[in-house]
């Protein structure tokens, strides 16, 4: 099992997620000791429910200790359309930065995964719903270029509500931009693996998340392009329990495997090592 390590992160640590301080698992109701979730990679030890993992913890989970250097931090958001909103977009951005300690929704890094050189990007749902604006697109692009230039595999952990509405069509176009950027990695014959976590929806699900060579999913994550509420409203269909879940996507042929977070690093390393020319065993 991958070991939890502490790494250097840009800016400051985000505050603990609300459930971290909670005494009960929201899913199964089991009582949890203080800090028990964090010690278990935010997976309930009783029911295996996977709680959201902040992006810096995700990088610590997947990357080898001391191998991480962040990239793309120089790319920062602007308000290209002076979007009219109840709260101005720049204010929403600074609030999200304060709350998460992140500069944008995509945290990108060069790192090693079990000694394998990797370009790793992690979307954080806590940052404006992991929405894809121009910065997410450009950081993705820069990360892909690093992967190509330095012969690294590319790994993206997705969690997103979809588009960044405040950037309007610029946001939609990031779907095309990221798909094209992923092509650069593919043309260099480097592995591109995505890990879909709860929730992966909208424009992210319908772009770079699903053009990967191999698609992994965390247990119980929701994946949907349109979103269950819109589907029920538009078609008046009653959706079955588990609709769009990782497990359902697996049966419908949309993902390669559902992997427990505690085994994710080993599985990821196995895949990259194999595609980069090693064997399937470590």
């Amino acid at each position: 099992m991958a070991k939890y390590v502490t790494i250097q992160v840009p800016r400051r640590e985000p505050p603990p997620a609300p459930e971290a301080a909670g005494e009960q698992c929201k899913k199964c109701g089991a009582s949890l000791e203080k800090g028990e979730l964090e010690r278990n990679l935010r997976v309930c030890p009783h029911c295996r429910h996977h709680y959201p993992l902040p992006s810096h913890e995700r990088i610590a989970l997947l990357a080898d200790k001391s191998s991480v250097s962040f990239v793309g931090e120089e790319v920062q958001a602007v308000d290209p359309l002076e979007f009219v909103d109840l709260q101005p977009y720049p204010e929403r951005l600074s609030k999200a930065q304060m709350q998460t300690g992140l500069s944008e929704a995509l945290l990108a890094a060069r790192c090693d995964v079990a000694g394998l050189p990797t370009a790793l990007g992690v979307l954080d749902f806590q940052f404006l719903g992991g929405s894809m604006g121009s910065v997410v697109g450009e950081r993705f692009h820069r990360l892909a270029q690093i992967a190509v230039d330095e012969r690294r595999s590319m790994v993206i952990v997705a969690a997103s509500g979809g588009a960044r509405m405040q950037e309007a069509l610029f946001s939609l176009m990031q779907m095309a931009k990221t798909v094209v950027a992923a092509q650069l990695v593919g043309r260099a014959r480097l592995p591109y693996v995505t890990i879909l976590t709860h929730p992966t929806t909208g424009g992210v699900f319908a772009s770079f998340a699903t053009v990967a060579d191999i698609i992994l999913a965390e247990p119980g994550a929701l994946m949907s392009f349109s979103g269950p509420r819109i589907i029920e409203q538009t078609t008046r269909e009653k959706l079955p329990p588990g609709f769009g879940s990782s497990e359902s996507q697996l049966t419908h042929g949309q993902v390669d495997m559902v992997v427990d977070r505690r085994e994710m690093k080993d599985r990821l390393a196995q895949i990259i090592r194999f595609l980069m020319g090693g064997g399937t065993r470590g």
């Binding site: 840009p10 962040f70 931090e73 120089e74 790319v75 920062q76 958001a77 602007v78 290209p80 359309l81 002076e82 979007f83 009219v84 909103d85 109840l86 604006g133 121009s134 910065v135 697109g137 450009e138 692009h141 588009a163 509405m165 950037e167 309007a168 069509l169 610029f170 946001s171 939609l172 176009m173 990031q174 779907m175 095309a176 931009k177 798909v179 094209v180 950027a181 092509q183 909208g202 424009g203 699900f205 319908a206 772009s207 699903t210 053009v211 994946m223 949907s224 392009f225 349109s226 979103g227 819109i230 589907i231 538009t234 078609t235 269909e237 959706l239 609709f243 769009g244 419908h252 949309q254």
Partner: protein
């Protein structure tokens, strides 16, 4: 940036873009492509009537034409799922685009959809993956590609068929990441604020040209495209031919490189020196 369009102005374009008498893909075919040969099915699962595609002569060229079809009457709209494509629609588009590539035929897409079909079967059939793969395939086509947004360009369901060397828009067509109603519901919790949202989203053709996200705007007859189908469809196909002529003068590898570059450049952000 130029003056923001008024909510009334933006909303007028939205209504014209959605006008039920506006020329749709089948009207373009009837009016301008007399020898159109429809090809059906995705070879995997079904034939999505929200997407029409086939072979056609256009002037001295042979092309592959693929477009959304919304339908005019209620019966037609139901037959064509209101132009909302399912995975099989995108897979049909991909299959036909590949056919064009194989035989060196330029691929022309006409986009007119409020979005991809939001349904259980569509989702379970891989809606997201179909859209992503379609974007990928159109980005990589070795033949010249032109998209015309002839009505509504709604979100990812439109983009799946709107990645091209040149993207043109009719004057009163719209292209947006979210419907104005959806945006209004999110921002003001009130769908009646849709005109304000339409202005904020800058979804009208001329505004998108100004911010560099599309390549040209095709004028419509006074009163809108629905007032004169023949003039509109001829004008659009004339512009398509001019654009294809331009693209054919570019060497294929260079055209592909330019297409990649265009999409990799999209977005507005700042680059700071400090980390």
């Amino acid at each position: 940036m130029a003056e923001r369009r008024s909510p009334e102005g933006a909303w007028q374009a939205v209504q014209l873009a959605r006008h039920q008498d506006r020329p749709q893909t089948l009207d373009y075919i009837t009016q301008t492509l007399p020898d159109f040969l429809e090809l059906r099915g995705d070879r995997l699962h079904g034939d999505d009537r929200a997407v029409i595609g086939g072979l056609a002569g256009l002037g001295k060229r042979r092309i592959v034409l693929i477009g959304h079809q919304k339908g005019h009457t209620l019966a037609e709209r139901q037959e064509h799922s209101f132009g909302m494509a399912r995975p099989e629609g995108y897979r049909k588009a991909m299959r036909l685009a590949k056919l064009g590539e194989k035989f060196g035929l330029p691929v022309v897409t006409l986009v007119d959809t409020s979005g991809a079909y939001p349904g259980k079967d569509a989702e379970e059939g891989g809606q997201a993956g179909a859209i992503a793969r379609s974007i990928e395939l159109f980005a990589n086509l070795e033949v010249p590609t032109v998209t015309v947004i002839i009505g509504e360009g709604g979100s990812g369901g439109a983009l799946a068929m709107a990645v091209a060397d040149r993207v043109l828009m009719l004057e009163n067509s719209i292209f947006s990441v979210i419907s104005p109603e959806g945006c209004a519901a999110l921002v003001w919790r009130d769908a009646a604020e849709a005109p304000r949202a339409a202005a904020a989203l800058r979804l009208v053709a001329a505004d998108l040209l100004e911010i560099g996200l599309i390549d040209a705007v095709i004028p419509e007859p006074p009163g809108g495209a629905h007032t004169d189908h023949l003039a509109t469809t001829r004008r659009v196909m004339h512009e398509v031919q001019l654009t294809l002529g331009e693209l054919e003068r570019i060497e294929p590898a260079e055209r592909l490189r330019l297409r990649y570059e265009k999409y990799l450049r999209m977005g507005r952000y700042a680059v700071t020196n400090s980390k």
